[in-house]
Amino acid sequence: MTNILEIQGISKTFGGVHAVEQCSFSVKKNSITGLIGPNGAGKTTMFNLISGLLKSTEGSIHFKDQDITNFTAYKRARRGLARSYQAIRVFPEMTALDNIVVAFGNNKEGLFQAFTPFRRHQRRLECKAMKLLELVGLEEKAHLKAYELSYGQKKLLEILRAKANNAELILLDEPTAGINPTLIKKITTLIRQFQKEGHTILIVEHNMPFIMDLCETIIVMDRGHNIAEGKPKDIQSNKEVLEAYLGKSHA
């Protein structure tokens, strides 16, 4: 298997704070990879660096064998990189259906395409979006405004939106935070299905049972460094990881 994402020696400093420091890891194509670490380890900063919302101070990011270090966020998204957010960012005033339709890359959204026949194409995309909503049983909520959905439903919607954006690599930032166990199961099946369809998934998570069950590889970050990488079993007994979470004396 080849690597879809390669991160080499990346650093990000905010003034004097080294949020991410000399971090290097890679994500295998078509894998489910977890990124864990204690609070403040730099996981979300890492996601922002990968998706292009932040510019790295040094280091390089390769995506699908192309150097994307200097790409802006929207260009990276068009190359096939999508993400969800820790604090939900659905479009509250649009219907659940539209939230997904706008994410399709080919929805004739150019200014001059407004003067071409777009309605049939839109209807086709709406059908596609509806199928995605059916995956998680949200089809009845399709025409509700996104702000009317519950927290968990918004989270599902955001994951579907990332998938709709024809993403090869999907970054999920804490998909299970604040969500009930039934929905977590739904999310697990959803992620497994994405993998079967050929997507690669990188997850930041604090929910250990969830991530240990789901991921093939886990990368552990602490204070801006990546301190360990390996199979869930190995990670659970890794001394450095235990130290990072529990402190030296307890490990």
Binding site: G52, L53, Y74, A77, R78, A82, D98, L111, A114, N165
Partner: protein, 291 residues
């Protein structure tokens, strides 16, 4: 009757001005407060060219083009700014342009204004009556209205709206925010400029007072009352706000009081709508003023 036609023409033109402002404020969520400067430049361009003997329609298109250039200049700093700072910078542009209208006496004749702006001539017939000019304006504004309606009900406008809702999320969905914002500015200023040209042609006389902050209050009231991000709302808003001072004329109020009373009513309407119906009559809930 003649007077009603004049008011109806005014409503048609202000509808275009309101919709175009709504594109930036309501749809894409940029707190853009320089609209009178943009359509003012259109009006001046049209007035000078049409008086100089340029073809009426060419002069209108030139008004749109020159307004577009100003629109793009105004857009530059807003691309780097956020929320209320955009309001400050665009308001600054409005004040600068108003100052230029007053002081570039060689071009605009300063505070004296430009009189005698011609009405169009079609098939050798000059449309000097209010009826003929009303029909002419309705045709042009309807064409512009159809174009704008098409744009504002297309996937393009949906993308504009997600940029208003959440710029960061839109970015990571592969939307080129800068391109969309520049295009929105171009639509607004081009059609706004044409609207300004029509306004100049209707009034026959323009001076800097036609394009000052009072005018901004007027248009902003139309946008807010009609409703953010709403095509038909803008038309409703423009109609109501144009009709209010006209209705006042029929009441038994001293003429000297009508002017100040008008602005009092606009202010009160904005406050009442903000409290009781922040979406406007037909509009959508937006975060433009709160973010």
């Amino acid at each position: 009757m003649d007077y009603i036609l004049f008011i109806a023409t005014l409503v048609a033109i202000y509808s275009i001005l309101t919709i175009t402002m709504n594109i930036l404020v309501g749809y894409i969520g940029i707190l853009y407060l320089a609209h009178p400067a943009v359509y003012g430049v259109g009006a001046y361009t049209f007035a000078i060219l049409a008086k100089g003997g340029t073809n009426y329609f060419l002069a209108l298109l030139a008004a749109g083009a020159v307004a577009t250039i100003l629109g793009l200049i105004i857009a530059m700093p807003t691309l780097k700014l956020k929320s209320h700072y955009i309001g400050m910078s665009t308001l600054g542009f409005l004040i600068i342009c108003h100052g230029l209208f007053i002081n570039l006496k060689g071009i605009t004749r300063g505070a004296l204004g430009i009189p005698g702006i011609p009405r169009p001539t079609i098939f050798g017939e000059t449309l000097n009556t209010n009826l003929s000019f009303f029909i002419f304006t309705i045709i042009i504004t309807t064409v512009i209205g159809i174009i704008l309606h098409r744009i504002l009900h297309s996937p393009f406008s949906k993308t504009m709206e997600i940029i208003r809702e959440d710029e960061t999320a839109a970015k990571t969905l592969g939307k080129n925010i800068i391109k969309y914002k520049l295009q929105a500015f171009m639509i607004t200023s081009f059609f706004g400029g044409i609207g300004g040209g029509l306004l100049a042609s209707l009034l026959g006389y323009i001076s800097p007072t036609n394009f000052n902050i009072d005018e901004l209050v007027l248009i902003l009231t139309m946008v807010i009352i009609g409703g953010m991000a709403s095509f038909w709302g803008s038309i409703v808003g423009a109609t109501i706000i144009i009709l209010i001072p006209e209705a006042l004329k029929f009441l038994d109020i001293a003429p000297a009081l009508i002017g100040p009373l008008r602005y009092g009513i606009y202010g009160m309407l904005i406050i009442l709508f903000m409290i009781y119906k922040p979406n406007g009559i037909l509009g959508r809930r937006t975060n433009v003023f709160s973010k």
